[in-house]
Symmetry: C2
Subunit: 469 residues, 2 copies
């Protein structure tokens, strides 16, 4: 237990408290409270004591030392002689229980007074939908602050994986004059203001927000064997779905000197596994909150994902599986049709509710850069998707067409030879077999946490008709 003593009380700028650990028992844990901090605790000591995070205090760091802890009050409980405060500073899900003299109690140190308009109530569990309405305050709930710590740690996990495996990080541009996917749903960019309508483009050419850093990464994969990027990408999709955002994060990688799709699926699987193990190890408590309270039972699914190597089926096998099933699909399952989310989810279930690779998609479904398998009756490209439980498509990748003649022919057919002459240059000079993939970072978080709506795993969701803050 901790004891607190205070000299000054100034609620307008937070109360000041000195906290001293003076016994070596693990401080009490806070469980169950989902309240919101409203009052800050800070303290100017005469002599500056060691600063300690709540996470450090709760885990028993610097026992016996005089330390300073700063955070927000998450709950207040007054008894005759004592006042119990729970203090949180965002360093962990846990709060620090502070036992103070009851003379510290002040009407302003209750939730009611300072929170007339505050949208969240102490000890009430608000739904993710409800808190989403308050983008500037939702980080003060337990669930969303856990999410943000997990998101931060997962970001670290992906960077670590790539770093440990010799990948060079590239900041691919957000503003681009390319249209990577070859079709639609782009945001265009121009300087704001009334004067600009008449003028020429700021960049002299139409400029868009990037839908993928792939082509820019391919530039780099002519000089580096392994490159990756991690950044925002954009789609002007007029959709309110639980699966789409106008701005979302992608992890993308390109690998040179590939021999087959397996060179890619190995990286995809290792990356998934390494990141997930990292997150489970470093954010155990925060992940538990989701696995216990938000999606009960999801833990079992995540553990099952990590048990075995991911199975691989071809697109043709996938079509067979779908056609043999007794399911009533809304979309057609003929060879040549694109797989829809309902199909993807079925395939995942069929394979035992674990991530599954689907390879060798119909050539005509894939963009110009996908490598031609040059098979015949069923013409395919060396492309691969990774489908995961609950989400469907998590990653998409392909070997890239490195053969100048084949690539040029396909671009000519599409009338894009001039637009992509620089891309053909990459094959003219020092072309080697290579491939890459992209992973939707928010979908990854949905997958491991079991969160249904993509808007609940990103700090500030952007989608059609919504751009709050």
């Amino acid at each position: 237990m901790l004891q607190a003593g205070a000299k000054t009380l100034s609620v307008s700028r937070g109360i000041s408290l000195g906290i001293r650990q003076h016994c070596n028992k693990t401080p009490g844990r806070l469980t169950g409270s989902r309240g919101i901090s409203l009052v800050s605790i800070r303290r100017v000591w005469d002599k500056t004591p060691g600063q300690l995070t709540v996470s450090g205090a709760v885990s028993g760091e610097q026992l016996g030392a005089k330390v300073k802890v700063q955070g927000w009050v998450r709950s207040v409980r007054a008894q005759k002689a004592n006042l119990f405060l729970h203090v949180n500073d965002g360093s962990s899900l846990q709060s620090l229980q502070v036992v103070a003299s009851s003379e510290l109690n002040d009407p302003l140190l209750t939730f009611g007074s300072a929170v007339e308009d505050f949208p969240f109530k102490i000890k009430e569990r608000h739904s993710l939908e409800y808190i989403r309405q308050f983008p500037h305050l939702r980080c003060r709930t337990n669930a969303f602050s856990s999410l943000l710590r997990i998101r931060s740690e997962a970001t670290t996990a992906f960077h670590s994986y790539f770093k440990e495996n010799g990948f060079v990080q590239i900041h691919t541009p957000v503003i681009t004059s390319n249209d990577c996917e070859g079709a639609g749903e782009l945001f265009q960019v121009e300087p704001s203001g009334p004067d600009n309508e008449e003028e020429e483009n700021f960049f002299s050419v139409p400029a868009f927000l990037s839908v993928s850093g792939q082509l820019h990464l391919e530039v780099m994969s002519g000089a580096f064997s392994r490159v990756y990027s991690f950044g925002p990408t954009f789609r002007a999709e007029n959709s309110q779905s639980r699966r789409h955002l106008a701005e979302f994060y992608m992890v993308e990688a390109e690998v040179s000197f590939t021999q087959s799709l397996e060179d890619l699926t190995k990286v995809m699987e290792d990356m998934f596994r390494s990141a997930t193990e990292h997150v489970l190890a470093h954010c155990a408590e925060d992940v538990d909150l989701f696995h216990k309270h938000v999606t009960p039972g999801h833990r079992v699914t995540v553990e099952a994902m990590l048990k075995k190597r991911f199975p691989t089926i071809t697109y043709s096998e996938a079509i067979d599986i779908l056609n043999r099933s007794s399911e009533n699909f809304a979309f057609p399952t003929d060879w040549g049709c694109d797989l829809q989310t309902e199909h993807e989810k079925y395939l995942v279930k069929h394979c035992g509710n674990v991530p599954v690779f689907v390879t060798d998609y119909p050539y005509d479904l894939k963009p110009f850069y996908a490598r031609d398998n040059q098979d015949h009756s069923e013409h395919t490209a060396a492309a691969v998707d990774l489908l995961v439980p609950g989400v469907g498509e998590l990653c998409g990748g392909s070997l890239r067409e490195e053969r100048l003649d084949l690539l040029r022919a396909r671009l000519e057919e599409a009338g894009l030879e001039d637009t992509y002459s620089w891309y053909l240059d990459l094959r003219r000079f020092g072309s080697v077999p290579h491939g890459g993939f992209g992973l939707g970072f928010e979908r990854y978080l949905q997958c491991i946490l079991g969160v249904d709506n993509i808007k609940d795993v990103i700090p500030f969701p952007r989608f059609s008709h919504s751009c709050l803050l």
Copy 2:
């Protein structure tokens, strides 16, 4: 020395080589060659040997083992009995020298044949300006591949600093309905295509590319003591200057429970120092290339920066220094005028050519969120800039006005009370003293490498009239 033997030679997809290290002397180093790889070396062994990067091979890893090395040929020199190849895979500045039987020599394995149109010449040192014209190929030069490795490592360095110091990383949005700086030079975003002119905004409100993640970070600093972001920011500045880009990266941080500007300058200085030491330690060879060939003598400047704590002067002291100098400044130096680059560079020189903090700027020069120092004759705000050699302003920060009444009064005066009612909410609920800063990542790279033009430290520079690729 290394010996090579090859079974097949197929220049269209690169030549295949088996390379075996069979002595324990450090393999020869490549110096001076600035040529470009044009032909790949790859090899399918009957039994897959260990894969080794060029960096690993050159440093003597797995000596005596049968390994596979893949990369691009940077130079070819044929002698009577032997052929000398320098092979690079982007893993380091160094190339691997391969000594092969001269019977391997093939007319296609020279630079001339395959490079008719290739813009870079072997053994010629091209200027950064020249290579900048070829954004899809410049990563194949020594200088720019070194830059990209340094940029990747510096990114890691900043993330590591924040991670080790308990900061939570936040992905602040690129698309925003805020205008953080309160004035101009914004890019606006709308879906492309002819149909959209008549319709309402995609987001129902005008949406812009973010000029700073600060306000979004401030949201988070109501629940986390320490947060940061590292991502792209945007200015529609119609400038071709060596100091500005339309898209650039910023490192931004917010710290809660600050007591004075020193709480911020300490983080800024520690971060700068930690990142720079990391880069110098992890990219020694690549940094040397810049310090020797691009900006001779810059190493001394960098080392001097790290020797002492950074000095701090107030804005008022800075004005005095400028007014006492014999320099002929183009811009006025009266109290109340903003410091220009010429002033900033003079102040840095005056302080011994080391980074210098300038604090307490005139209140009227600073945005609404800067904390009022409530001094009188010379009214200032608790803002700070970090000026560095060669660049001028590298970081800008301030304590944020946490006092609801003062903040509301200032917003009312500017007619922005409604727009920023959510921002006032952050002060209504659980407001604590806090502050933060932003660092221009490209300027940081310019500062430590001595690169004069900002376009030479970013993979794909965007500026007015230019958006290549």
